[in-house]
Symmetry: D2
Subunit: 355 residues, 4 copies
């Protein structure tokens, strides 16, 4: 069968280039064009590399970036991945969708809209059905979003726990890598040997997106989960990998062993569908006393195509009726481009693309 | 009046050398001797410097370290500061105290004993009275301890808040500097560009010490505070300065403004006594959206002698009935040697030394 | 005597703020106004702090930045310190000088001009005489420049050695701090756990500026020194302090002891004039086997006002007829604002300002 | 054909574990046993992992470390790889060789001995013949050493240049990663945000080993190369990858193009023999203005088995009759275990093992 040709929007940025990485030799998708702002028009990918840990193929390096032109894109492809910055994503993505394009976006602009799925394949695959509403007024096009990078790593283990035990209260503190701020992003003078206890809008996103993700799809849209989420976000001098300390109060009282099992054995429709960029084991529980660590666990996930897509959980503890753990995920793969690629794979596998 | 001659135990380590730094030209105390294990016997301080941000006076650099000999020390001085590692601190400190020496210690060994004050001058100065029990069976000697480095920075703002509003629940996640592990401490291979979500016994110390510090002195000893403390501790690639994210549930419902005021206006007997190593303003509240930061706030505290002794609080937020903030303190000054030096100053000012 | 009122150009940047730091309470100079581009017009210094290791006085923090207007500045002050970026420095500095203002600049724009002194008080104080040529066509105004940050730390020890032994060949490799690139400067993604072996134009500047600095003032201008300088420049993950490895071939064959002495005993007119921002001992020779180090030696220099103005040299070695050493200097103090402040002090002390 | 069973000595350390990594699924060799000091006796590899960037296979993780017993080892295997620390390597390696074992060692102890090859397959494969002398008095056993980590990255490009143009003078300054000091190695307190301009014995090793490597094998042993090498060594906060700035004076006067070509086209017997751990292109020349960089180039080398075995050269410049470049190599792969593994492959391919 022929692969679906796709556009990558924002191909000059960190997330855009992670899209390109994940789409090289993808079994379903094939990059047709790279798009970015006027400034980068005509430049080859090789001239504006942002990823230090990945080497593109020669032919990929020679791809030339074009200026975004929604009419042209809508004529060329029926699916677009967007790594655009939120400020410009809003309009471009809506325009593309209205021209019938399926847009899978990492941008925050449309995440909280009623009829836009905020989607993680393992967490709320049924929310994908929301696109039907969009398609009615968007000529068959739609927008699907992946959550904020720090939300993703949290929501996946929370889903496993909420299903098993019911969540009452979530308190999370983050240790977020600098790649989360894009490039050039965080100045080295601000972060070398330092911690910055502030990331704009990040706590608000974590607190609201988590509840939409774990919400229930009803006839009238998503009914948000009703537990409390309290977030404290900080930037740390780490390249890739958001670590989070999570303290939980549950509605029931599982043993530590039951708690671990719920995480470790968690699986979902995404695993059953064998989506290519989704790891066989989505939540890896480490028994060592000092894991997860960004340098050791950031690329977790098997098979090879799902590297960086598993969430690693460790240091699971219980004190009175509270549970504590650390979670780690790759912020620009699982929490970025990989999120949207796996969302598109879900739509593809569920035959919700172009049918 | 003559200064009191003191011994510094553990003078080859990070904390020991912070003691030496703080005791140079101290108005009450004067270093009589430096002590450490046999291995360092006969070495000059200049040969084993551990602090990169402080330059000792020439005469201090020439001081020679002696092997610990409790009989000799007890003959030479009546007051000792201990920066010994916990494993050897236990016996040495007890021996010295039993020989009539007043021991002010940074070690964990005796902190949780019933008759040993776990002391912060601004938090629980009245607990100092516990030494009287010790003096009865220790020939007038006693041990006073300062809390663990990460506990100190937390307990000071909690005291202000508990006094004003009553605390119900404390959830804290730490971003702890490598100097907290001493020297050589954390290998660079483990922490460069990485976070380690584990520090041995640290969470247990924070959870128990905080309750003793904020406990009430009764006839039968300290009645621990009864709120819940849940700690998640992690090491970050920062030289000095423990940052902590703190989420609180209170017994009352102050406005954000009232909450800030309680911190900002907090003062204590230690300030009234004008202790030299205690800052005029013990809790500094920053209004900027991205403070406190280790590189910018770690040396907070005035006057000059109290540099690194103030705790900086920032990003105070309220959500529903929860309060959130970040706190920062210098882990080897306020959370280490400075803690014990100010404790000794308190004892001195309250005339509880040698009278 | 009244202090001379001065303007600080580029007050929103790293170097500009080092100027402000060094001019607080300066015995000769007093800040009259802070200037920067239109974008910062009306902002208080407190809103755009760039230095994490220095706390300005309250009244300084309240100073408001004005947009650069050469006519206004020339009316208000007769002396200006410039921390402007090179691209805009060229014209503004020339315009100010033509309006009779004495401009002491850190920018590269005018450094290599025949009649502009490239000046280090300890190295070539006589070059200051070049300003007389400028004054004839600039209405009494002139420009004096300090060298590039990495040149300064090199030229000072080279001066001592060239005077004593004659230099034949200099090979230098640099380990340059990120503050040398200004703010925001080097993205953290590029430098965390990494080295960048390239700094634009840096090697060219080191190779040419050094020869002008150590050149001889003749009737026809500066006759450049005639030895060879070969530079390799790299950026390292350090906040402040340029370290340099220097390998030398000399014209004579001093013993290691003679070589050390030449450095250690070096003094100059600047010391004899007792300039306030010039250290009593300009070159500090360390005997330890592992010094100088940025974290330990970057602030070298006494008295207090000259902190960060001494150059530290260590690991002096000789092999056959080659000499090797490491040198360190503070790149934004000695190699930046402090360079120009001390140049202005020299002009002041030599009565070459406004007479 | 059956694989040769080998022992890995020092399997608890950084280099020892790189040996294990490179020997997993090796086409010629198969690990028979892991050996280390008494302290680690009985521990599984999984309990003492030192590499954060490599995941061993499950069966490898379960391998149990035995205490070194030369008699047992000599009975079990005929080939041993040694990642032992130099102090204990000397005797163990000699004892094993005397029992007929072929020892391929990363330790410095025997490198400069007359009859011990100091070997890089691409540089001096003929030096391997020196083992014949050893075999006469060592019962057929022998020791072959790889050079010091910082020497290796230098010697390979120097070989290409010396062959083509003749070298007169080499001045090198290093930017060495912390993994070069082993584990625990460099304390984080010493290197976070800092540079240490000293590595014990490193400059001496670079200066002498380079000349042996590029020396000529004669009847009377290796006649050392006769150019001058001057080294300045410094430690930087980088995990893996030694960067070096190299300034050269040659005996001839090639153009920059000729100089680049000599590096880029360099190939050797090792490539012709198609050794598995030797890269197809041993010296990679980068045209970008800011390469090589540790984070981007440390794993250079193809095919997969030769990852981290290529040396990357960049920023090639010429000034007058001097040539400048930066070189980078992986210090624990190419400059450590990979060096000895490729040496053993050379011996195997040349049929000098056990025949």
């Amino acid at each position: 069968m022929d692969k679906i040709e796709v556009a990558v929007l924002g191909a000059t940025g960190m997330i855009g280039q992670r899209f390109v990485q994940l789409l090289e030799d993808h079994p379903y998708f094939k990059i047709k064009g790279l798009y970015a702002s006027e400034r980068s028009e005509g430049k080859r990918l090789a001239e504006m590399l942002k990823l230090k840990d990945f080497t593109f193929k020669k032919e990929t390096l020679e791809m030339v970036v074009e200026q975004i032109d929604v009419d042209k894109i809508a004529k060329d492809v029926r699916l677009a991945f967007s790594g655009l910055p939120s400020d410009i994503a809003k309009e471009y993505e809506a325009s593309l969708a209205s021209r019938g394009v399926a847009v899978f976006s990492n941008a925050a602009s449309h995440r909280m809209r009623d009829d836009v799925p905020l989607l993680i394949p393992e967490v709320n695959p049924d929310h994908l059905a929301l696109i039907e509403k969009q398609q009615t007024y968007r000529n068959g096009g739609f927008i699907v979003t992946n959550p904020n990078c720090s939300t993703t790593g949290l929501a996946l283990p929370l889903k496993a726990i909420d299903d098993a035990f019911g969540i009452d209260l979530v308190i999370v503190s983050t240790y977020q890598a600098v790649s989360g701020a894009g490039y050039p992003g965080v100045p080295s003078l601000d972060i070398l040997g330092n911690i910055i206890p502030f990331i704009k809008n990040e706590e608000e996103k974590m607190e609201s997106e988590t509840l939409k993700l774990l919400g229930k799809l009803t006839d009238r849209g998503v009914k948000f989960a009703d537990f409390e989420v309290l977030a404290n976000c900080a930037r740390v001098p780490v390249i890739d990998g958001h670590l989070e300390s999570v303290t939980l109060k549950l509605k029931t009282d599982p043993t530590l062993e039951e708690f671990k099992n719920a995480l470790e054995k968690f699986t979902s429709e995404a695993q059953r569908l064998n989506l290519p960029t989704v790891p066989r084991v989505p939540i890896i529980v480490r028994a060592e006393m000092d894991r997860p660590q960004p340098l050791m666990d950031v690329y977790a996930g098997e098979p090879q195509r799902a590297r960086g897509m598993a969430v690693t959980v460790g240091r699971i503890r219980k004190k009175n009726n509270y549970y504590k753990m650390f979670v780690l995920s790759h912020n620009t793969i699982r929490g970025g481009a990989g999120g949207s690629v796996s969302n598109a794979e879900l739509a593809y596998a569920k035959k919700m693309l172009f049918c």
